[in-house]
């Protein structure tokens, strides 16, 4: 297939997926976009949000749109690891012989919804570790490969902490993104209410399949990354470690920094994001946009930040600013254009934010108009 056709197909697929998802999920454009990025990049996503904001609905719709075998695991404190991975059972065959047969668990799907993952015990949570990272299950010394593409989309409720088991660092690191699903705005809420008055069923249609996702993944891998951008991403991750020499002022708010998987995730996802935005190269903007989702669950803020009422997202923002400043200086001494570059970057970000806000409003109006017309019908 010609390169341009692949790219065209990529863009079309993304549009279709997004459009279909918006049929079932009102608003949450950033969440939808980031989830798509993670899926194409081949990563797992942790969705955190209060009940009722559409986390589960989103994942279910995603399963329909991607035409992928979908399974849901509701994590409870009494859930056992074998309930997730599957187990060997003894069965009598037709001849009356007793044989050991492996019964696959719900993990054996392409898209797994791990609902309220923080409710399960650490033992059960650890069963997910191998699955999420290596996409295989080992039961009784037997390893079963999971079919690609494989994703785990987990959800957790930040409110109820009683009876929950915070995910261990190792497992948190296996999530490519942690996305915070915010409470919808008034307009979005109105849209949700209007939509659900009509039907509670998901109406999204399948538009792509697993093979397409894999093709999209391969295409995204070939997006070129400038050395400076790569160094910027790596420096950003490195600056989360206060014990290193190159510590920046914002590192004083961090107790533990991000692992190397964060740098890998940044670059992989930035490539996908660039392609989704119609760009054919990774830019600083892509890295900055993905820094939050990639880092917020990988770094631990310390008492200094808590004392100053800084959230982990605030610290990540400061980290970005601190990483850009020396970057600005080095560019200034090399090229003398740093001020212009930073001005343009800021202008760019402002104009992008304005455009996105405008697009959101228009979309809401459009959705509202459609729902009204449907309601009338």
């Amino acid at each position: 297939m010609e390169n341009s056709e692949k790219v065209k197909k990529f863009s079309e697929s993304i549009s279709k997926i997004t459009d279909e998802l918006h049929k079932d999920v009102v608003g949450q454009d950033d969440i939808i976009e980031n989830v798509i990025v993670a899926i194409i990049a081949g990563g797992n996503v942790l969705l955190e949000g209060v009940p009722g904001v559409g986390k589960t609905r989103l994942v279910r719709s995603l399963g329909r749109v991607l035409r992928l075998p979908f399974s849901r695991i509701q994590f409870t404190p009494d859930l056992m690891p074998s309930d997730v991975t599957g187990t060997n059972v003894i069965e009598k065959d037709a001849n009356g012989n007793m044989n050991t047969v492996f019964r696959k668990g719900p993990i054996f799907a392409n898209l797994v919804l791990a609902d309220e993952i923080n409710r399960a015990t650490p033992k059960t949570q650890s069963a997910m570790l191998e699955v999420m990272q290596e996409h295989k299950v080992t039961v009784a010394k037997q390893t079963y490969k999971l079919e690609e593409p494989f994703f785990v989309l987990a959800t957790e409720n930040p409110i109820e902490q009683d009876g929950t088991y915070p995910l261990p660092e190792a497992q948190m690191d296996r999530f490519m993104f942690k996305l915070v699903v915010k409470f919808p705005s008034v307009e979005e809420l109105a849209g949700i209410v209007n939509m659900t008055q009509i039907t509670l069923e998901e109406t999204a249609e399948p538009v792509v399949d697993g093979k397409t996702i894999l093709e999209m993944r391969e295409l995204a891998k070939s997006v070129p990354v400038l050395d400076e951008v790569l160094n910027y991403a790596v420096t950003l991750v490195s600056n989360t470690h206060p014990e290193l020499d190159s510590k920046v002022p914002s590192a004083k708010y961090i107790k533990y920094g991000a692992s190397p998987r964060a740098a890998q995730a940044l670059i992989t996802c930035a490539k996908v994001r660039a392609l989704m935005k119609g760009n054919y190269n990774v830019s600083y903007e892509d890295i900055n946009a993905l820094a939050g989702p990639v880092l917020r669950h990988r770094i631990k803020i310390n008492y200094n930040a808590i004392n100053e009422k800084l959230s982990v997202d605030d610290v990540i923002k400061m980290l970005i600013d601190d990483t850009r400043k020396p970057h600005k200086l080095s560019r200034m001494f090399k090229d003398g254009e740093a001020d212009e570059a930073s001005e343009h970057e800021e202008e760019d970000e402002k104009s992008t934010a304005k455009k996105e806000k405008k697009a959101k409003k228009e979309k809401l109006k459009k959705d509202k108009g459609e729902n009204d017309s449907q309601a009338q019908e």
């Binding site: 790219v7 050395d227 400076e228 392609l275 054919y280 190269n281 600083y284 560019r331 254009e337 343009h344």
Partner: protein, 512 residues
């Protein structure tokens, strides 16, 4: 490389070259202007071409390396384009992955190139404004350098009062004492001492009547000038030697006279003490004797091949010229020692001429000539030794006054200016003919003809700075008046008269 990028690269290269040229030229102009301004403020000057060379040199030294530092590489241009046009590292990626065959890289290059096709490079107003600062500053500096007038080193300078210290008084008194203890002839010694005492009186003033720096310099220089004149009037070696040099036969003797007196200068040492004067005087006497001896021996040789009529003829001819030259020195009536020595020498030669053909053998006649020469040597050494001593004393007095008052020797009037200014090639060193109109310096006359230099001096009577010429004329009248009223001791009258004679070459009648 993409075509559109290539066009943009050319634009930026051109822009950088122009920027570096403007900067280089600005720095060059600034340097030339600064150099001009500094030299003007220091009252110094250099050849105008040097300013241009400095400007060109600095321009090249700044502009060329600047271009090599700032010359835009592909990376720099790409970065600039991405920054200016918000291309999100597209151009930089295109350049970095220019050789890549990756699926997306190829599309990336194509789409970026298409975007670059729509780019119209422009120079922002702020950038143009920044570039204009350097040339404006450079032009301002150059204009300042041209417009600012030269600072006259003397003009407007503060002329503070000159406070004479006790050490200076003591130094001057010591000098007067040294002069009185010297071996100069009594009249001359008294005259010089009198001048120095006059100087001492002049500088001894009350606090509210102190002289300024420049007045002090003028006063001391005047005293030096008078002393030079007094000593020069007592020394006749230059005039007599100068006249005798006109005769080929007497040239060697004349040179011995002239060089003998100044032979003490050969060791290039300065005379700062009276002891040194005496030391040098002894050596000078020996040198003078040697030179006179050698010159008279040379003189005698011209007669060695002659005898009888030839000898007589040569002697008569020589004596005739010798006599004319001696007469033209003007010392006939002046009782000058050196004149008398040569007068005796002339008489001896005439006697030898008379003896030719009167029974004297040629060898005896030559012996008589030799004896005359020996006599000339002995007597001449004594007289010239005195004149050499006077010259050394003059130098000694100058050194002392320079040291006491902190005035450099170069500020004092030159010795030759005082005595022999106005002498031309026909009268080298001689006092001018009173009727000789060519003597037009070293003095002044009122009326239509101005004698003397137009140097500016301080006039105590007028309490102002005036030209030397007219002032000297007034001074001469005052001096003559005092001479007429017998207010001046006899022993000083001659010196004063000689002084003005030398300056004027005789007193001119006022032309109405």
């Amino acid at each position: 490389m993409s075509e559109n990028f290539g066009k943009l690269k050319k634009f930026f290269k051109r822009y950088t070259a122009i920027k570096c040229a403007v900067c280089g030229i600005s720095v060059g102009l600034f340097s030339a202007g600064a150099l001009l301004l500094i030299l003007k403020l220091c009252s110094a000057e250099i050849f105008a071409l040097y300013y241009a060379l400095v400007g060109i040199g600095v321009s090249a030294a700044v502009g060329v390396p600047m271009y090599f530092i700032l010359r835009p590489t592909d990376r720099k241009i790409a970065k600039r384009l991405d920054a200016e046009y918000g291309l999100n590292e597209k151009v930089q990626t295109m350049i970095a992955f220019g050789g890549s065959d990756g699926e997306v890289a190829v599309i990336q290059r194509e789409t970026t190139d298409a975007k670059l096709g729509a780019v119209r490079p422009r120079l922002r107003f702020t950038e143009i404004l920044k570039q204009a600062v350097a040339p404006v500053l450079a032009c301002a500096m150059l204009v300042a350098g041209i417009a600012v007038p030269s600072v006259d080193s003397g003009a407007g300078t503060v002329d503070p009062p000159y406070e004479v210290t006790e050490d200076q008084f003591a130094g001057l008194r010591q000098l007067i004492k040294d002069v009185k203890e010297s071996h100069m002839e009594d009249n001359l010694k008294a005259s010089v001492a009198s001048v120095l005492e006059g100087l001492l009186e002049t500088i001894d003033r009350d606090e509210d009547d102190m002289m300024t720096d420049s007045e002090m310099v003028v006063t001391v220089c005047t005293a030096v000038s008078v002393i030079d004149g007094l000593i020069a009037s007592a020394d006749s070696y230059i005039v007599i030697g100068g006249e005798l040099k006109k005769s080929q036969s007497l040239e060697k003797i004349a040179l011995a006279v002239l060089e003998g007196v100044t032979s003490y200068k050969a060791d290039n040492t300065r005379i700062k003490t009276l002891v040194r004067v005496n030391e040098k005087s002894e050596r000078a006497d020996a040198d003078i004797k040697t030179m006179l001896t050698e010159s008279t021996e040379e003189f005698n040789k011209q007669f060695d091949e002659l005898h009888d009529d030839g000898l007589k003829s040569a002697l008569v001819s020589l004596c005739s010229i010798f006599g004319e030259l001696l007469d033209s020195t003007g010392y006939a009536e002046k009782n000058d020692g050196l004149y008398k020595v040569f007068e005796v020498f002339l008489a001896d030669l005439k006697a030898v001429a008379d003896n030719v053909g009167n029974g004297y053998h040629t060898s005896a006649l030559l012996k008589q000539i030799a004896n005359a020469g020996s006599k000339l040597t002995n007597d001449g050494t004594t007289v010239l030794g005195v004149q050499a001593y006077n010259c050394m004393m003059d130098e000694f007095i100058r050194e002392c006054l320079s040291s006491i008052f902190g005035i450099s020797l170069s500020q004092f009037p030159a010795n030759s200016d005082v005595v022999y200014s106005g002498s031309d090639s026909d009268n080298p060193g001689g006092p001018s003919d009173p009727d000789d109109d060519k003597n037009n310096s070293g003095g002044a006359g009122d009326g239509d003809e101005l004698y003397g230099s137009n140097d500016i001096i301080y006039s105590p009577s007028k309490d102002d700075y005036v030209q030397y010429g007219p002032e000297l004329s007034d001074y001469h009248k005052i001096v003559l008046d005092h001479l007429d009223r017998n207010n001046v001791p006899d022993e000083y009258r001659q010196f004063i008269t000689n002084y003005f004679d030398i300056l004027y070459g005789g007193i001119k009648e006022k032309k109405n």
